[in-house]
Every structure is written in C-alpha cells, then in structure tokens.
C-alpha cells in the first residue's frame, strides 16, 4: 500500500510524551512511598516487587516510553531510599549490583512485553472496527445503484467514521476532475488543491495533507482505484482544524475508497450493458421494421402497378368485368397502403414521447359508429353485430385515437377470419370501467402467440392473407395504456378469438 510513504503522524505528540514522563515520575514516587511504609516489615526483595508492579501498570496504560523511564527511575530510587547505606547512591555490597541489574532487566522486559500485548489488542480492535466499517459500507453499496448514490453512501460513511468533511471528484469529458458529490463548502478548491486532487487521480497516489506530496495542503486526496482504472478521487478534511488522520484511519480511508471505486465501476458496467441491450433491441426492431414495412409497402404497390399497366396495355382483349376487377384491385390496394401508412405515422407519433391525449367525454357509440363508417367498404357482406347498451356512460377518451383502436381491432378480425364468419363489438360498463370486446369466430389464436400479440412488428404464425406490419395491435396497446386502461386477447369458448380492453370511466387524477 502506498501509505508506507506517509510519515507517522500521531496527533499532538509532544504533549503525550510529557504526560508519559509525568506519570512515570508519579508512579515511581508512589511505589517509593508504599515501600517506605513496608520497609520495616519486609526484606529488600519484596520491595523490588512493588516497583515491578508499577512498571507493569505504566507499560499497560502509558506504553514503552513511560515504562523504560520508570525502570531506570525505580532502580535509582530503590538504591537511594532502601539499599544500605540508605539515602546515598553508594553501594555497600557487590551483591546489590546484581540485584539492580536483574531488577532493571525484569522491569524493562515486563514493560516491553506488556506494551506489545497491549498493542496487539489494540490492533485487533482496530482491525475489527475497520472490518465492520468496510462491511457496513459494502452492504450499503451492494443495494445502491447509480454513481451519485454510490458516492453519496461512501461519503456518508467517511464523514461519520473519520469525523471529516469529504467530497468526491470525478473526471469530466476531458479528464479534468470536478466535484460530483458531497458538500464542497468546507473545501477551498484553490488551484493548488485542485492540482493535488488531479495528481491523486492521474497517478493513483495519496496526496495533500499529511502525505509526502505537499503535506501542508488543506485536505487529503485519495484516489478511487478500481481494477484497471481510477474512477476519480476523494478529498477528505478532518472537521477539527489542524488535526491529521492517523495511519490507521488513512488505511481505512483507502480501503473504503477502493471498495467505492469498484462499486462505481461495476455499476457503470451494468449501465453500459443495459445500454448495449437497448441498442441491440432497437437495432433488431429497426431491421424488423424495415423488412416488414418494405414487404408491406411493396406488395400493394406491385398490385397497383401491375393492374394499372395491364389496363394501359390491353387493346380490347379484356371484357368489362375484368377491367372492373383490375380497377377495384387498384382501389383496394391503395386503401391498404393508406391504412399501413396511417398506422406507421400513428406509431411514430405514439413513440415520439408522452402521448398527447385530447381527452374529452365521449359516447363509445359515436366512436364505434365512425370507426365502422371508415371501414364500410371492407365490412360489406360481413355479418357484424354491435351490442352497446343505450345507457353506456360518457367516458373520457381521445376519440380519434380510440377510433383507431376499434378500426385496428375490427380490421384484425376481418383479416384473420373467414369471410362469412361474424364479428361482434360488445361493450359494457361497471366497476368504474368501460369494457369493450371485439370477438370473432375464426381459427383463434395459438396459445404461444397470446403474450406477444401486442408487441411491435410481431405477427402471429397465422399470417393473414392481407398482411400488415404488425403495428395495429401495438398501437391499440399504446393508446389504451395511455388512457390508463389495459388490453388483452384470449380464445373464446366455442372457437374464435376475443380482444378485450377497458378504459377507466373516470379521468385519472392529473
């Protein structure tokens, strides 16, 4: 980890050293006082124990420095106060020299060992905190989507656990970092600070406050490294002015940054995949549209061209009936072209954005009437039953679009069923809905087609003889859903298909 380059930055170091020294003096003084009380009753070896106990306590609570100081002080005080001749540093017996050496050695060893045990425990606690913190963040990142929300979650954790202000900076199109997320009011973002952030991003190094690179900067800049790329940088500034982050905190910060960067990168990848899927789908639809439309435009055009040239070239060989037949063919095929183009235009309009409904209160009867009038020519000779109760309520709808829905549904029934079979248009009101059914007695719908029938450019396996771009039902669905209703298809008991839709009888709240 690059954090090795950071000089140790323990907050307010000198004052802590004084506290350690003072407590060493205090403890050794206290031990001497206790020994003074015990002196008449115990021998010298036991007095040494009291000093060792003091060193042990100091090592645990104040660390190595205090315990080493106390070890030497203890030997001196012991010699001065209790070893004969008392109240001098002189030594009467060489045996006492041995005692001092062992005492010093034991005191130093106790101090070192205790401090080490303590450091281990502290490190374990720190590790645990760090793991918990990383786990909490990773859990939050896992349930978050979108770069901004991911960065927001990370910043929240950093601010809460490092008592710092933090912002995330992401590169713009030119690779220049800008604040993307977080409250930037704590940061001056002067050119120098921005350059440090840029450095952190460009080279993946820690920069700024407390690091090897411009240690007196205002804030610390942490890169956001994902696998293979750096997604941005974090700027972190302790809330207490002048404080530095400890090496452990910086380690944690780096781990958090790494985790956040991975989450952001993988989120972007998901987005990218999504976009690719949508693009592929659009591509598929476009090519399907092209093939379907070009086929459906060419067929009637071919029929019109063929019939017209036949009429132009004939020199009296055709009888009146044959000529009329050709002329009728031209008219019918032109009608078909007109319907197809109409549907294409309608679909384009519906897809161009939110459908602009001209909703007004209408009687379904009126709309059914004009739809059937538009199809008069093709309905000739076809048994068609309408059953609309006289007391149907007026319902909010866009009459022109709804007319198109009915035309498409009836047209569909005509196209896919034999000429003599009946078609029914039935409506009923109830439960706050106006329900309309267009049913036929044709071959019905293969079950596997039922779900996809309303998809754009989908044509059932039973292609009608007249074809169509597969747009009619998709338009129906778009229009009905824009009205807040729903449309579906089913097979009828006794044979045939039924297309059914409902509209809310009340206008949806704006």
């Amino acid at each position: 980890m690059p954090s090795a380059s950071i000089p140790p930055t323990v907050a307010s170091r000198p004052s802590r050293r004084w506290v350690a020294a003072a407590s060493a003096l205090l403890v050794v003084g206290a031990c001497t006082a206790v020994d003074a009380v015990l002196y008449p009753h115990m021998d010298l070896a036991n007095l040494v124990m009291v000093y060792l106990l003091g060193v042990l306590l100091l090592a645990y609570f104040q660390g190595t420095g205090a315990s080493v100081l106390a070890s030497f002080l203890s030997v001196v005080m012991f010699d001065f106060c209790f070893v004969p001749p008392r109240f001098t540093l002189a030594i009467a017996s060489a045996q006492h020299l041995f005692t001092f050496a062992v005492m010093l050695l034991v005191a130093l060893s106790i101090g070192q060992l205790t401090a080490w045990v303590r450091a281990q425990a502290e490190e374990a606690r720190a590790r645990e905190r760090r793991t918990a913190e990383l786990y909490a963040l990773s859990r939050e990142l896992a349930t978050t989507r979108g770069t901004d929300d991911l960065l927001g979650a990370a910043l929240k954790h950093i601010s809460a656990h490092l008592e710092s202000a933090a912002v995330a900076l992401l590169p713009d199109a030119k690779g220049k970092l800008c604040v993307r997320c977080g409250d930037a009011s704590e940061f001056s973002l002067s050119p120098r600070e921005t350059a440090l952030a840029q450095w952190a991003y460009d080279f993946g190094q820690l920069t700024g406050r407390g690091t090897a690179i411009v240690p007196d900067a205002e804030a610390l800049y942490v890169p956001l490294p994902a696998s293979g790329e750096t997604v941005g940088a974090l700027a972190v500034k302790p809330l207490v002015a002048g404080r530095l982050l400890s090496p452990e905190q910086i380690d944690l910060l780096e781990a958090l940054a790494h985790q956040t960067a991975l989450a952001v990168a993988s989120d972007r990848l998901t987005d990218e995949n999504q976009r690719i899927r949508v693009r592929e789908e659009n591509e598929r639809i476009r090519s399907s549209l092209l093939s379907s439309v070009s086929h459906d435009l060419r067929t009637p055009l071919a029929a019109i061209t063929g019939s017209a040239t036949a009429l132009l070239q004939e020199d009296g060989g055709l009888d009146a009936a044959a000529r009329r037949d050709l002329l009728e063919n031209i008219r019918d095929e032109a009608d078909r072209l007109s319907r197809l183009v109409g549907n294409l235009i309608e679909m384009t309009r519906l897809e161009a954005g939110p459908v602009d409904l001209h909703t007004e209160l209408h009687h379904l009867e009126d709309v059914v009437g004009s739809a059937l009038a538009r199809m008069e020519e093709r309905l000739r000779g076809r048994p068609l039953v309408t059953a609309l109760p006289a007391d149907l309520p007026m319902v909010p709808m866009d009459a022109l679009l709804m007319e198109q829905v009915l035309v498409n549904l009836v047209d569909n029934a005509l196209k896919y069923t034999p000429a003599a079979t009946p078609v029914e248009v039935v409506a009923e009101a109830g439960n706050g809905r106006l329900t309309v059914r267009v049913s036929d007695r044709g071959p019905g719908i293969p079950p596997e087609d039922l779900d996809r029938l309303f998809d754009k450019f989908y044509r059932g396996r039973l292609h009608g003889p007249a074809g169509g771009a597969g747009l009619g039902l998709a338009i129906c669905k778009a229009v009905v859903e824009a009205h807040g209703g729903a449309i579906w298809a089913a097979n009828r008991a006794g044979g045939g298909a039924v297309f059914q839709f409902f509209l809310p009888a009340e206008a949806p709240p704006p």
Partner: protein, 233 residues
C-alpha cells in the same frame, strides 16, 4: 341540367398527380376547370374566372392555405372545399372556422368529391339557409321544418327543444359538415369549448330516437374530431 356557360371549378393544388385525376373527373361531370398550383395564382383566378366552387389544398408551397381562404372570403362568398391530409384535424376545424364550406380528407374518392360539390352548389344557390321550406326526406327519416314535424321509421318522433335544434340545424345544412362549435353557437347561443360534450350527449339521444342502429348511424354521421353531417338526401 347545368346551364351554359359551364360552371367553373377552381382547383388550387400544387400536386400535379392530384390535379391530373381531378380535372378529367370534373370535366366529364360538365364543369369547366381552372387550375392553379400556387396560392397567388389561385387568388388571381378566383377574381378573373368567377368560379362556382373552389377546391383548396391547405398545404401550398407559397402561402398558407388558411391565409388564401381568409383573403378569398374577404371578397367572395364562393363555396370553398378544403383538401387536407388525414390526422390534420386542427387544420380542418381552422379551415371551417375561417369560412370553408366543407372538407375532404386525402385520399378521397371522386364519388365523395362530386357529392360535396353538389351539396356546396345547392347551398350556394339557396337564397338563405333558414328559408328551407322544402321538407327533408331521406330513407326512413322525414323532417318538415315549417311544420316542426319529425318522422322516423314511419312514426312521429317527439324531440326535446335542444334535440330538435340540432336536427333542424343539420337539416338546413344537409350534406354539409357542421362543427360542434357551430352547433353550440346556433342551438345554445354560445360556443364554449368546454360544453362540447353536451352536443355529443344530445346527438346520442337524438340518434337513439331516429336511427335504427345508433352504433351504425345512417342519418347523422360523425365527422371525427370535427362535428356531424346529415347524410345528403
């Protein structure tokens, strides 16, 4: 039946392919045809040829068709039938509001066109719309405005004042489109757009009384997005 000299139909349309079938169709019906492919030329011909009917395409290259219509209306009461593309319903309403007598949606058949021209000529020749003394009869519907008498399917029908008002207006303009706004103005005396659904409500009731199958009306047909038309007798 057409008196000499032949009545002139002025076609203001920039698409040659449309004029190509309009001209012979009208000529075989005994009309003289004047053609203009720009609005300016159309206005000039309207002044010099004194047409009996004007067919006006709204999508002209030089001037907005509605503007031509307004300028024409400033100097002449000649019947104008506008030609529009399907889906441009605002155009139709704007055209009718600006003084057009009727409209045709492209693509249209020659039969429809001739029927519209006949209706327009008849209304232009009648001295005034209210002086429609002749009783109207079409299929199983008979309306005698002078006697305030309506018969449908062989029996007398009793209408409320609003229903009768709508039917009378449609009869006076039989064969011509009548906008919802015009109905509101003539029958209710004001034309607030927000009341348009009253018109639809009363037409619904009226159909219930005079149509055999109100869902497939043969007398009062809906002109989607525009208004209603009483089928020509």
């Amino acid at each position: 039946m057409i008196p000499e000299p032949q009545p002139v139909v002025l076609i203001v349309e920039d698409e040659l392919s449309i004029r190509r079938f309009l001209k012979p169709s009208l000529q075989t019906e005994g009309f003289a045809v004047a053609e203009a492919d720009t609005g300016a030329e159309g206005l000039a011909l309207a002044a010099s040829r004194q047409p009996a009917v004007v067919l006006l395409d709204l999508g002209l290259p030089d001037v907005d068709g509605l503007e031509i219509l307004r300028r024409l209306r400033a100097v002449s009461a000649v019947p104008v039938i506008i030609l529009t593309a399907r889906g441009r319903d605002e155009d139709k309403i704007a055209g009718l509001d600006a003084g057009a007598d009727d409209y045709l949606t492209k693509p249209f058949s020659v039969g429809e066109l001739l029927a519209r021209i006949r209706v327009a000529l008849r209304h232009a020749q009648a001295p005034g719309e209210d002086a429609c003394a002749e009783p109207y009869a079409s299929g199983d519907l008979a309306v005698d405005l002078a006697a305030r008498m309506v018969r449908a399917r062989g029996a007398e029908v009793h209408l409320t004042p609003h229903e009768y008002g709508i039917l009378a207006l449609l009869v006076r303009r039989a064969g011509k489109v009548v906008t919802q706004k015009q109905i509101l103005k003539e029958v209710w005396g004001h034309a607030g757009v927000e009341q348009a659904h009253y018109v639809r409500l009363y037409v619904h009731q009226l159909r219930g009384k005079i149509e055999r199958d109100p869902a497939r009306p043969v007398h009062i047909v809906t002109e989607p997005g525009v208004g209603y038309r009483l089928k020509d007798a």
